[in-house]
Each structure stands twice: as structure tokens, then as C-alpha cells.
Assembly symmetry: C2
Homo-oligomer: 294 residues x 2
């Protein structure tokens, strides 16, 4: 292995996210061996057949004993149990990270399950995904030009952050470092809130007396506005509960914004509506120009 490389990567939950990380590190020549652990024996066999993992293992403690780096890519509900099972056998130098879309809860779980190893814990959130899932969906290029946010704790050793950042950069990702709470506030606003608003909007249409006719006439605006309402209910329940304080603050802010808008429509205040819509258009258009150049 080169200067930046590691010998053994343990991926717990070998799906699109964990599997693509393993593949990208293999292509970069930065990992010698990938051990996969997964609740689904079928998925794990598939991961091995596709070369996403080299070794399939159904015992977390056994895999942990070999680890230089552990990537937790399970649903958040299973994370505490996995870390508890791995804690006794993890070598002292092993680095522990995850891929969850909320970070305050991961910090809490790490503090509870690995209190003596926080220097080697680097919570992380790769901003990537697709509507596909499972090891069969893993791909080398998933992280090319995507952001990965690292949210180290006060206890995290800076060298652990640097090691993980170098591995993610080798996958093609851009690294950002945020405080875990700030991460959760940012993603409550730009990701979690719009998902919940889109789910709610589709439910509202579905509950109407004239729902069928409405859906008959729904077109491209509806299509794009509701795309994220096709996301996994279980995943978004977990996110909503895990990021509850920041999300509730954003939901209450949105309700206040909606009340102001309703007041202006009720009061037929055309000037206020034009200003409100005009500001949104200006911000969205400027954002999109920047996004396209990324």
C-alpha cells in the first residue's frame, strides 16, 4: 500500500454507498482487502461475486479484529448494535466512519458505544446516491465530483480526519468539514425539509375529492416538485427522527413563511407577492448558475 493506503477495509452494509466506496478505493489501489458484513446473505454473496468485497463475513467481531478502517453504511437504527458488537475486538489504530445523512445522532451513538476510541471516530456524510440500492448498484464513479462532509468531534484526532479525507479524495470527492450540529441544520434546510414538504404535498393531492382528475392534469412542474416524494419511507422516517430538533425548527419556519404568503394572498397584496416571488426567483436562478458550473 502507498503512503495513503490501508490494508483492510471493513464495510458494514454493502449497498450502493458502502459498495461504491470499496470499489473506488480498490481502483485507486488504496486498499488491499475489503471485508463485507451484511444482514442479507444474498446481497453479500452478490457483493463478493461482483468483486465489491473480497471476503464475506457474518460475524462483526471477527471482521472488526482485522480492520484498519470501518465504514458503517447500515440504516441508522442498526448502528449502535453494530458498533457495540465491534468494540471489543477493534484494533486500537482502527479508524471508524459512517455515511449517515444526519450527524448529531451518529456522534451520540459513537460516544455511547466507543467512548475510548473517539480520537479515531470521524462521522461523515457523502452527498451522493441514486434511486438504486444493494451491492449490485455499486459503481466506481459514484463519488466523482461529489461533496463528502466530515463532521469530526472535539475528541477526534486531526490525523484521523486527514487520513479519511485523503481516501475520499482518492474516490474523486470534494471534502468539506462541518461541525456536526451545523451539518444537521444545513441539511435540515436543503434536504430534509424539502423531502417532508414534497411527501406532504403529494398526500394533500391524494386526499382531495377530485384527486384522480388532479393527477390526470399534473404535468412537468408536478413531476419535478414531487420527484423526491418517491424516496424510501423508512429512510426518511429515520432521518426525521434523527434530526428532529433542526428539522422541527425548519418546519416551524416554513409554516411561518407560509402564513405570511397566505396573508398576502388573502389581502390581495400584489406588490408583496411580486416581491416575494421575485426574490425567490433571483436566489434560485443565481444558485442554479453556480450549481451548473460545479
Amino acid at each position: 500500500m502507498g503512503r495513503q493506503g490501508i490494508r483492510t477495509l471493513v464495510v458494514v452494509g454493502v449497498g450502493l454507498i458502502g459498495g461504491s466506496f470499496a470499489l473506488a478505493l480498490k481502483r485507486a489501489g488504496l486498499v488491499e482487502r475489503v471485508i463485507g458484513v451484511d444482514r442479507s446473505a444474498d446481497n453479500l454473496r452478490c457483493a463478493q461475486e461482483l468483486g465489491v468485497v473480497d471476503v464475506a463475513c457474518d460475524a462483526l467481531a471477527l471482521a472488526a479484529a482485522e480492520a484498519d478502517l470501518v465504514l458503517l453504511a447500515t440504516p441508522v437504527g442498526q448502528m449502535a448494535a453494530c458498533l457495540s458488537a465491534m468494540a471489543p475486538t477493534l484494533p486500537p489504530h482502527a479508524l471508524i466512519t459512517d455515511v449517515g445523512s444526519t450527524k448529531g445522532n451518529v456522534v451520540r451513538i459513537m460516544r455511547e458505544t466507543l467512548p475510548d476510541r473517539l480520537a479515531r471516530c470521524v462521522p461523515a456524510h457523502p452527498i451522493a446516491g441514486s434511486e438504486l440500492s444493494g451491492a449490485a448498484a455499486a459503481q466506481y464513479g459514484l463519488y466523482e465530483n461529489r461533496d463528502v462532509v466530515l463532521t469530526p468531534m472535539a475528541e477526534t484526532d486531526p490525523s484521523a480526519v486527514e487520513t479519511l479525507a485523503a481516501l475520499w479524495r482518492a474516490c474523486g470527492a470534494h471534502i468539506a468539514v462541518l461541525d456536526p450540529d451545523e451539518h444537521d441544520r444545513v441539511f435540515a434546510a436543503v434536504s430534509h425539509l424539502p423531502h417532508l414538504l414534497a411527501f406532504s404535498y403529494v398526500n394533500l393531492v391524494a386526499d382531495r375529492d377530485n384527486a384522480e382528475r388532479c393527477l390526470d392534469f399534473a404535468s412537468t412542474g408536478f413531476r419535478d416538485f414531487t420527484r423526491i416524494a418517491g424516496s424510501s419511507p423508512e429512510m426518511w422516517r429515520d432521518v426525521a427522527l434523527a434530526n428532529r430538533p433542526a428539522l422541527l425548527a425548519a418546519l416551524h419556519d416554513y409554516r411561518a413563511e407560509l402564513d405570511r404568503l397566505i396573508g398576502e394572498v388573502e389581502g390581495e397584496d400584489g406588490t408583496a407577492l411580486t416581491n416575494r416571488f421575485g426574490r425567490a426567483r433571483q436566489v434560485r436562478t443565481a444558485w442554479y448558475q453556480k450549481f451548473l458550473r460545479k
Copy 2:
């Protein structure tokens, strides 16, 4: 002209929508002459140079005197003045239609300005558009496979509806007929409400203390959810005011839906959240499969 054709079409407001209707009828050989009227002399000259209109006219009364069909494609705020100016010279047989995205208000304007001609009035709403505008954006194929909703009044002569329907079908459109109020309720739900929700959401993000950081991390979910927040503020102010009752009902329903969701997040009711999100996903996924086959 063939059985279905007309001699003179007068397009008031020669932009994307009105210009594309003129071009499509010309290609179908169903109109002999198109007279264009427009507040912008530059736009009208452009329409003439591009062959969208044959004759440019800056006097509504003069154009009206020649009309077999009048297509009103102005902003809704100018519609009453245009119809009043045309009323004295319109031939008795002339058919009058529009392209507005709200219909109850158009019915009211027609009743006020053309009380003796309601048999020949067919309010209409072609479900088409693009982010482009002006005569230069007019295109033959804009209405291919798109819906056009006709909303005749009680007084409208069925033969007038049939004549207009045949012309729109010749443009490639599919015809639906709705009661004007039902039209406004349907489009309040599937088009007007999501636009207002998207504008409000972008304003909420823009007002945050950490707005810049939020926009830095906004990605594809944000992009699609906010696409319609890039729409024209003036047009959407007009729509919000014109469709005020139906839109307010939808806004209040959405707020109630949001309150239920907030209650479930506050109460950490994971089962209720999973059901809520799951229902939305099921409805959205089924809708999208149908939409793709259209």
C-alpha cells in the same frame, strides 16, 4: 380553407403561446391569414419577420373587424381592456378564446365585456410552455401531445366548442373539457399551489442565518424541488390573485397537512411518519408510471 379551417386568426399577444398556435394552424393549412396585435412593436416586427403573423396591426378594433377567431394571449390584467376595445367591431360569427392558466376570472371578464357574444366565447388553457418567451420562441410543435382544457360557459354554443377543439387537435393537442370552476380547483392543486410552495421554500432558505452555506450544499433534490421557483413573479402574482379562492383553500389544506406532520415529528411517531411517507411514495410512483406512458 377546408371544412375545419378559418380565414382570419387574430392573435392578441404574439408570444410563445399565441405564436405557436398560429404557426401550428398555418402548418396544418387551417388558417389563411394571421393578424398579430402586440404592445411591443419590436416583438410584433419580429413575429412578422419570422412568418408567425402575416399582418401586424396596432389597432385592436381594426383587427377585430377582420376576425373569424380571436386568440387572447395577453397577461390576464390586460384582457378586459382588449376585449372592450374589440367588442364594437367583432363580426357576429367570430369565435373568442384565450390561453390563460385560470378560467373563472376569464369567464367573469367575458361576461362583463362581451355579454351579447357568450355563445361564441370558449375560454381555454393549453398546458404547455417553456422558460422562453416572445414571438422568437414560437414553434410549430409546442402543442404536440399536450393537453388543452376547454372550459365553456353555460351560454357557450356547443358548435363553437367543437370548432375550437378541432383547431387545437390539428395542432397536435389532446382536448379535455372541464367546468371553469373545476378547472381552477384542479390547477390550484397541481400547478398553482406547488409554485407558491416552491417560492416560499426558496425564500425560507434565503432568509436563514446560514443561507450561503445551505446553498453551497444544496444538490439535485433541491434543484428539482425548486425548479418552478425560477418562474415569472408577475405571472404568478396574477395567477395567485385570479385564482384566489381555490388557491387559498389549497393553501389552508396544505397548512393543515403540515401541522399533522409537525405533530408526528414532535411526538416521534415513527409509524405514522412511515405511513405518511409511504402513501406519498405509492401515489407519486403510480402517477409517474402513468405519466411516462402518456
